[in-house]
Amino acid sequence: MTILLEVRGLHKSFGGVIATKNVSLDVMEGEVHAIIGPNGAGKTTLISQLCGEQFPDAGKVRFNGRDITKASGPARAKMGIARSFQITTVFQDMTLLENVALAAQAHDGHSFHFWRNANSEPEINRQAMERLKEVGLEAKAMTLSREVSHGEHRQLEIAMALATEPKMLLLDEPMAGMGSEESQRMIEILQRFKGQKTMLLVEHDMDAVFALADRISVLVYGEIIATDTPDAIRDNEAVKRAYLGEEA
């Protein structure tokens, strides 16, 4: 297996607070790699450095063989890193179809097309509809985004990330704020892409993590203390002490 995302010695601090401490991490092509850690461990800071919203003080990020440490967010997205947000981030005044079409459009060259009605472009709409089907939202394609439930917003986020035809999905707590039934549905959706799409999953929901992940990295105080298979992580003493111990 080849390494798709390679993180080496990533370091980031805000004033005196170290948010990311010498993080090294490999995400293999095709694997689901989960990052877990207690609140305040620096998961979101790490994610935002991977997708170009923030930049590290030191360290390197390579993606698909290219150094992307200094690449901007949009540039990384174009290279194939799609992310979903912890807090729902969709276009509230557009229909679900238009939301996903806007994502698909991003993958389809530049958008300096000024004349043709974008809503009546069959190819983009077909792609968008397919993505909506994959997350089970096709029945609500014509509903305005602000009129659907929280769980459906989360599914829409996944559909939008998929529509850019990414090489890797960066999922920032896709189960956040969901009930158990909704979480279960989301796990099923993500399981469909397991093996086909490389995923880096940041999640609190342990059921989801153990159901989906091929490997797990544990982040504590900005530092990765262990990376291993789910079973090994479950038995890892250091991890138990730092994190799982609270629940076990």
Binding site: F91, T95, A101, L102, S111, F114, A118
Partner: protein, 325 residues
């Protein structure tokens, strides 16, 4: 992709309004009120400017407090060539559009790096720079302004000095500009602009360099506004830097908000009600109490405040709610 509903009050009202504007020269002829035609012409020209402001303000979330500068630049692109005896209207329009677009490109490239209040202040600062530039040009009248002795010339046989001919040039321009923006808003480009207003973070995560798209939108808006300015130069025959003062830009924003932002017909409603109120209020107040018309700004401001504070979505939004009842 909401289904468009015809025969709603808003739709009927909009069509009636356009028809009314289409026959205004005939009406003003019948009632022998050339004055009405003059106001209506002004309404058409400012509506073109308001529509182009609405594109970036309403759909794009870029609150430019400097759009009057484009009107002024467009007007001087008529005035200065005529001063030097270049009378071709095609030249004037070409200059108005390209100079405005260039001004938008340069000022937009800088101001679009900022957001929110900073963007508002920077666009205003650039417009004030244009204001003072024209103020200092003594050759072209400075703060005394510049009289345009004759109008742009197009084909022989078309005399835009004739108020009715000029009115229809403005009317056709307005219809074309409305159609242009209608296409633009619904296009892929327009979708990106709307998306960037709605959620910039998401747009960047999808791979859009929103800055580039915004800049192009800003340039288009400035160019069309400059065209409105060229019409304005022919309309007033007297131009001065006052046309681009920041209060003028503020009025333009007010018209857009009053009519309802991010709607196709909002600017038409907004400009129309703004200018009609401006003309009528002093007279009505004078009728109630002689001399009271002098203070027309007070009720005018109160009415505008009321609409902005209590009528969500401006006039367009009000008409929408009428339809749902």
């Amino acid at each position: 992709m909401r289904t468009s509903n015809f025969l709603t009050p808003k739709w009927l009202f909009s069509v009636a309004l356009l028809l009314l504007l289409a026959v205004t020269p005939i009406l003003s002829d019948i009632f022998d009120q050339a004055f009405y035609l003059s106001i209506a012409t002004r309404i058409l020209i400012l509506t073109i400017a308001a529509i182009s402001l609405n594109f970036i303000l309403g759909y794009g979330g870029m609150i430019s407090l400097g759009h009057a500068a484009f009107i002024g630049i467009g007007a001087y692109c008529v005035g200065i060539p005529i001063y030097h005896d270049y009378s071709s209207g095609w030249l004037h329009i070409f200059l108005a559009i390209t100079v405005s677009a260039l001004f938008a490109l340069i000022t937009g490239a800088i101001s679009l790096r900022t957001k929110g209040v900073h963007f508002i202040m920077i666009t205003m600062a650039f417009a004030q720079m244009a204001f003072f530039l024209f103020l200092s040009m003594d050759e072209y009248g400075g703060d005394d302004g510049l009289t345009i002795w004759y109008d742009s010339e197009f084909f022989s046989g078309i005399d835009i000095d004739n108020p009715t001919t000029f009115y229809y040039i403005c009317f056709v321009s307005l219809i074309l500009v409305m159609y242009l923006y209608h296409r633009l808003v619904a296009s892929r480009f327009g979708r990106v602009i709307r998306g960037a207003k709605s959620n910039e973070k998401r747009m960047q995560a999808l791979g859009y360099s929103t800055y580039n798209y915004r800049l192009v939108a800003y340039v288009i808006s400035g160019a069309v506004c400059g065209y409105a300015g060229a019409l304005m130069g022919n309309y007033t025959n007297f131009i001065s830097p006052d046309m681009m003062g920041w209060t003028r830009s503020g009025e333009l924003i007010f018209m857009v908000v009053l009519g309802g932002t991010a709607t196709a017909f909002g600017p038409v409603f907004g400009v129309l009600s703004f200018l009609v109120l401006e003309e009528m209020l002093p007279n009505v107040m004078d009728m109630i109490h002689d001399g009271a018309g002098f203070y027309w700004h007070l009720p005018f401001g109160l009415i505008l405040l009321f609409v902005v504070l209590f009528v969500r979505g401006g006039i367009s939004g009000f008409l929408d709610r009428l339809g749902k009842r």
